[in-house]
Amino acid sequence: MIGVSEDREPLPLELAGLESHDLVEWLGTMLLIREFEEALDPLCLSGKIPGGVHVAVGQEAVAVGAMRALGDGDVVTSSHRPHHHGLARGVAPNPMMAELFGRADGTGGGRCGTMHIAAMDRHYYGGNGIVGAGLGLALGAALAAQVRGSGQVALGFFGDGAVNIGRVWEAINMAAAWRLPLIAFCENNLYAVETPTAEVTGGDSIVRRAESFGLPAVQVDGQDAGAVFRVVRAARERALAGEGPTFVEALTYRYQGHNTGQVMSYRTDDEVEEWKSLRDPIARLRIALTAAGRLDDDGFEALHAAARAQVAEATAFADASPWPDLATADAGVTEIDPQLRGNP
């Protein structure tokens, strides 16, 4: 691993073609994700959030770049590491935090917790506790879009660990065979829980594996929001033109452990430092926006302060929210129409 010197500059990124987009908003959302995610470990360790969470600090550009390339009616599904996707899709921090706390004002009234936060009104079918399963739901949403002619595409996020589970390839094959408007989005942060993915993956390329299923597969720098945006936008246009699915592999990195409070003995400090110093998605976008004259230091500080304030407000909101009504513990598991129901 290459040693890191103090003065190494983050890698530049290209904003060409993004002039009409509100990249300052993108950066603000990435800062919100960063602040939100960094607030969670202490809240878990203090017991405010029951259990642990999987945070995506370092992966902000993937979520924001992909989500800003989609339409409001498009369907998105996520994985067990879902907060960045949810926040980028527009789930409000207050009910998201209340959900993590298990409180009544959470997105799911305390039923869902970290891995199942959803926003059905935004066609965001939630995180998923089962590796690769979210892609399957996106597959079905894409099928419905095709059958209904609804003009939607569906994007399913999954991690690099999911490239070694069968259901992912069943879904990709079906989408390719039926030319479904699906974007299969692999967020490759290099580690499947604590196992380096390369050590447990046959072949040397995820995109080449995907290509063999008969669909275009693109690898992209996941620490460059604009690059992610461009590939997802192209995949979406292709899907809407009836040309079928696209596989995207975004190379990214999580700065923290797989789950709350975990010690990372499986990777080197140098590796972590290299990703943080050279490729941090927030630093890179900030530098590019500053160079383009679209953001100054005061503007950045204002975004950062706003993100911190939102997280502080969300934490206070969650803490003040009541526990769920216990009478709802088994409410709405099934809802048989009384007209179809025999003996109640």
């Binding site: 369907v75 599904t77 799911g108 039923r111 869902c112 199942h116 959803a118 059905m120 066609h123 079918y125 939630g126 998923n128 506790g129 089962i130 399963a133 892609l135 399957g136 739901l137 996106a138 597959l139 079905g140 949403a141 894409a142 099928l143 419905a144 879009a145 059958v147 209904r148 609804s150 939607q152 569906a154 069968g166 259901r167 069943e170 879904a171 094959n173 079906m174 065979a177 039926w178 088994d330 709405g332 598991v333 099934t334 809802e335 048989i336 129409d337 179809l340 129901r341 025999g342 003996n343 109640p344």
Partner: protein
């Protein structure tokens, strides 16, 4: 007006009528369009509704996942797995996705997962009795009709339900003929049927065992023993009210299933009835079920593993003995 058709044809009729009324119904499964599935259960539907029946790859996980995602996005899919045993390759999609979405996200999953079930040929891996496991999973409705008319009526209800329905059709009943009402004929979910009235013993069963129970009841009638035969039809939710009302009259209960006796639907009914009607019981409840074994290929070994008419009869007689001797 009724017509005399097979259970498979009754299923087709129900699906056809619902597809004519509801454009959102589609069918996914292997060998569906031309063949109509491995039991001809959907013969003709593929050509009658072009584009709405799809031949899927043999990818059960993807089929069920596609059904769940499509249901969340406005369709009402039937995922036809041919044999319900193949659901084992899609267990996460059934248990963790289909069954959980309404609870987690407040959005029902109007999905029918159809499979041919019950005990017949093809040995161990094609003869799993999975119904109790599905019924044990919150979020799923489970249906297993025993007559052509109920098959039509229940698939119509299932295709109007807002929840995932596991729809089980017994292998040996595929060609069973019976009178089926034409046009609108809906059988409610969660309602058992009294196949034969009687005041001495209540015998509860489902699937192919119902007909065997009726034959036993007919024989015992000659001896003056009146057996009430109840066909559950829906395994979740269970129609305990009908069973309890019957037991309050008869004071005796036999529960019978082709599934392994341990951990089955019959045990659940026995427990529920002793809770709600213990003081009406005149004898211990008798449970009849399969041996705790996978199913063999050899016909005599199959017969040895699953309940026979003689076993049903012994169980009925056991409830009539003062000491409640074991069946």
């Amino acid at each position: 007006m009724t017509t005399r058709i097979t259970l498979s044809q009754a299923f087709q009729q129900g699906v056809r009528e619902e597809m004519e009324q509801d454009d959102s119904i589609i069918v996914l499964g292997t060998d569906m369009v031309e063949r109509g599935g491995h039991f001809a259960q959907l013969r003709g539907i593929g050509t009658e509704f072009p584009g709405r029946v799809r031949d899927a790859p043999i990818s059960e996980a993807a089929m069920v996942a596609a059904g769940v995602g499509a249901a969340l996005n406005g369709l009402r899919p039937i995922v036809d797995l041919n044999f319900i045993d193949f659901a084992l390759g899609a267990m996460d999609e059934i248990v963790n996705q289909a069954a959980k979405a309404r609870f987690m996200w407040g959005r029902g999953v109007p999905l029918v997962i159809r499979g041919t079930a019950g005990i017949a040929f093809y040995a161990a891996q094609h003869n799993n009795s999975l119904e109790a496991g599905f019924a044990h999973t919150p979020g799923l409705l489970v249906v297993m009709p025993s007559t052509p008319a109920d098959t039509k009526g229940l698939i119509k209800s299932a295709l109007r339900s807002g929840d995932p329905v596991v729809f089980l059709m017994h292998k040996s009943l595929t060609g069973l003929r019976g009178e089926v009402p034409e046009g609108e004929h809906v059988v409610p979910l969660g309602q058992a049927a009294i196949r034969r009235a009687g005041d001495d013993v209540t015998l509860v069963s489902y699937g192919a065992l119902v007909a065997r129970a009726e034959r036993v009841a007919e024989r015992l009638e000659a001896e003056g023993i009146a057996v009430e035969v109840i066909d559950l039809r829906t395994l979740f939710p269970l129609d305990l009210a009908t069973i309890e009302a019957s037991v309050r009259r008869t004071g005796r209960l036999v529960v019978a299933s082709e599934a392994p006796r341990h951990g089955g639907i019959g045990g659940e009914i026995a427990a529920a009835i002793q809770e709600s009607a213990f003081y009406y019981l005149d004898a211990p409840i008798q449970r009849v079920g399969a041996l705790h074994t996978p199913i063999s290929h050899s016909p005599p070994l199959i017969a040895a593993a699953i309940p026979s008419e003689e076993q049903l009869e012994r169980a009925i007689r056991a409830t009539l003995q003062p000491e409640g001797a074991a069946a």
